[in-house]
């Protein structure tokens, strides 16, 4: 006869650990896919609690499987005819453009998270061990004198009448409790030197941290939509990241072809492209803006330049000179060369920039969305330490 076992295993949750690990992996997957999401959002002026939908695919368990083109067998209701469509364009339900279509049975969750959470997610596990130890540069804006406790000695104007009186009463009371002679108790108890209390004041320097991000972008004819998309995502990350580290972050957009203009965000990303490229023009404009508005002693300046490296050869020397100058005034100056995989362009500024030896000048290459995050990490690793800034400044 069969055995029946009916015991209740309350409180045993055997899959808890595996579920936790799975969730952790999903979280990491969101972080890795964040590149798709952030490029959809406007960089400035988004309130942090704006909700966004992030489609995340279930973590795939990769193995060898047949592709979508493989035929299959199904069962009909008795009236199946050749040519009948049983599943319409699955692309209609796809999550994101450029993603492989969702095959049947594939899990797509859609989570709703706020921009703030997204950024938090992005930076919380940021694998920048050096960053954690490095303090972000803080500037002393003004001195403020604030009261801090009382002292027995001090100058007359700082005499605290209230505190002194309390001290006097305290002394009176203790005298009374101590059983002083009665005739003395009726006497008026005068203030004594020891009763006086003076307000103590300390000087506290008020710090604030200002940062400005100079987004310099090449908008010449060769910078197409894909390249701008990559650039934009990078600027977004940079802006967002600095926002978590500084109290006040400003963004300046400079677009250049052969000459540079300061533009609004919208123009920066959406204006048509034309013309050749003189990188130095963008740098000169940036230098001028810094000189006019952002004193390097008061502002932490971050500059990042995105280009596809297609510069007029005659301009190279000038560009390098200006880049050196920029690296000198900026906390961090980066050059991102955007070379999508299918781009036919071969020219590059990377070789030229090898001459620049300043340690806060960084070059990165971005070929695809996947490389954004690593590029971003590389960039930030070179942020000047306090010491380096001191010696430079």
């Amino acid at each position: 006869m069969a055995v029946f076992r009916d015991f209740r295993k309350e409180g045993i949750d055997r899959s808890a650990r595996d579920r936790a690990r799975h969730r952790q992996l999903v979280r990491e997957a969101i972080r890795d896919n964040v590149g798709h999401v952030i490029s959809e959002e406007s960089i400035i002026g988004q309130s942090g609690d704006k909700k966004m939908k992030v489609p995340i695919k279930g973590l795939k368990e990769f193995r060898f499987i047949f592709g979508e083109s493989a035929p299959g067998v199904g069962q009909g209701d008795g009236n199946s005819k050749p040519g009948q469509v049983i599943q319409r364009d699955p692309q209609g339900v796809r999550g994101l453009p450029g993603e492989p279509g969702s095959e049947p049975g594939e899990d797509i969750y859609e989570t709703e998270i706020t921009l703030e959470e997204l950024v938090e997610l992005l930076f919380e596990d940021l694998n920048l061990p050096e960053m954690e130890r490095k303090r972000f540069h803080v500037l002393e804006s003004e001195r403020q004198v604030r009261p801090k406790g009382y002292r027995l000695k001090g100058i007359r104007p700082r005499l605290s009448k209230k505190k002194s009186l309390i001290e006097k009463i305290r002394r009176e009371q203790s005298l009374a409790r101590g059983g002083a002679p009665e005739n003395e108790a009726e006497e008026r108890v005068p203030f004594h030197e020891r009763d006086l209390r003076y307000v103590h004041k300390v000087v506290r320097p008020k710090t604030f941290s200002n940062a400005v991000v100079l987004c310099i972008m090449d908008t010449s004819g060769s910078m197409d939509v894909t390249k701008k998309y990559l650039a934009r995502s990078f600027y977004f990350l940079l802006h967002r990241f600095l926002k978590t580290r500084y109290q006040n972050v400003e963004v300046v957009f400079i677009s250049h072809d052969t000459e540079a203009r300061e533009v609004t965000e919208d123009e920066f990303f959406h204006k048509g492209e034309s013309g050749g490229t003189m990188i130095s023009s963008g740098y000169k404009k940036a230098l001028r803006i810094i000189e006019e508005r952002f004193n390097p002693d008061l502002w932490n300046i971050y500059a990042f330049h995105c280009s596809d490296g297609d510069n007029f050869p005659s301009d190279n020397e000038d560009a390098i000179r200006c880049a050196r100058e920029l690296a000198r005034v900026c906390r961090l100056f980066g050059y991102g060369e955007i070379k999508p995989v299918h781009s036919p362009s071969w020219s590059s500024m990377l070789e030229m920039y090898k001459e620049i030896k300043q340690d806060n000048f960084v070059t990165v290459t971005i070929r695809s969305k996947e490389e954004l995050w690593p590029a971003f990490q590389t960039f930030l690793k070179h942020d000047r330490s306090e010491r380096a800034l001191a010696s430079n400044g």
Binding site: M1, R8, E61, R63, E68, V73, Q75, V85, I86
Partner: protein, 477 residues
Amino acid sequence: MGDYTIAELEKWDERIRAVAEGFGLRPYPQEFEICDYKEMIGYEAYAGMPAHYPHWSFGKAYERRETLYQLGIVGLPYEMVINSNPALAYLLRDNSLLLQILTIAHVYGHNDFFRNNRSFSLTRPEYTLERFKAHADRVRSYTEDPSIGAEKVERILDAAHALQFQCRRARGVKKRSEEDQKRSALEKARPRQDPFQSIHARQEVRPPDLNRVPLEPEEDILLFLRDHNPYLETWERDLLTIVIERADYFLPQIETKIMNEGWASYWHYRILNALDLDPDLQFEFMIRHNQVLRPLKGGINPYHLGCRIFEDIFRRWETPSRQEQEEYGLPGGQGLEKIFLVREADRDESFLRQYLTEELVRDLDLFRHEKRGGERVISHVATPEDWTTVKETLLKSVGLGTVPVIRIVEVKTHGSHEMILRHEFDGRELDAEYAERTLRYIQRLWGRKVVLETRLAGERCQMSCDGKEGKVQISRL
């Protein structure tokens, strides 16, 4: 607790077992465990095993199941049985008495199948639970070992899981030893007897390369990696062994899904009808039975398909029509004998190949569909000309037919130790993204460059992945 007591269940179980054995079923001793839905989902995620090693994919399975259940997309399974001796099955506590009776009968069907089907003869069911427990203990010990840790264990398990079903198809045939392979290679190279030797030019004899690794294309990828990569640590090798053993255990179930479910459904139906249920129970039984055996529109319900074929076999051998009598020489009256023979000897592919007749394909309205543009379109239906195409497509998509055949063709023995794999193209191309990622897993376990020859978008090409993980290059051949 539903509307029953354990004593009642015991009584019903006794009757069911008696009826089943009366029909000729020979199941293992049976044990039932009654559990709530959370435990049931938990068992489902871990393939029914009371002890199983940890891995995030099981956590995923759990979450997925639970979400689908909460959303009402899928119901809970009424039962789960695992292939062990004694067989262990789980019953859902909240089910009604009838569902428990139905489930118990169904369980005996599976149990009988596990015990008697030839595919399961090497699964050593006496040790199932202990083996999985031992696996779990070993994996945990590696996880807790300070010099190994969870992360490294996960890296290996991820890769091993990706390859677990890349194994030999011919399970019933003994794997040839290396000496055996050498002998046949020499055999093949030996010149054929030529009666006109004296007048013919001398035959050229090319000695076979006996140092080639592997001598013959190898399908057991994990096994090969385990035995031929000297740089794997002992614990890494052991993890591969664990995954291989686990896959070995589950393969027969994958290979007999349709038969197994069909057999259990066929028998729960016959057993319950033989029990003389009260009208109330009988009515609920009919409803539940039809829910389980409902055809799945646009897909295949293995319960339904399997059960229909067993019924058809029984009918043809028990009461063949005059035409069938003449055509196939079936005398009739052999129904039970025949289905028991089928249950013992076949697996899904051979089962469908032999017993899925034109009439059945037509009655079930099976069709073949394929992708055209962005849509899935029916390409063939059960017409006298096309039904074989439908059937052939189905044969390719049951059991291991859904796993592409990938063989290790050669390992360069000098220098690079590059491994060359070949996808045996059968008209179906690999999913490129999945292939790329899986190739990286092979590279992870092999440690040297790996190359996969396959076809993508109609062209022969090769994917290669060398030391740096994450970079897979695709080039045309």
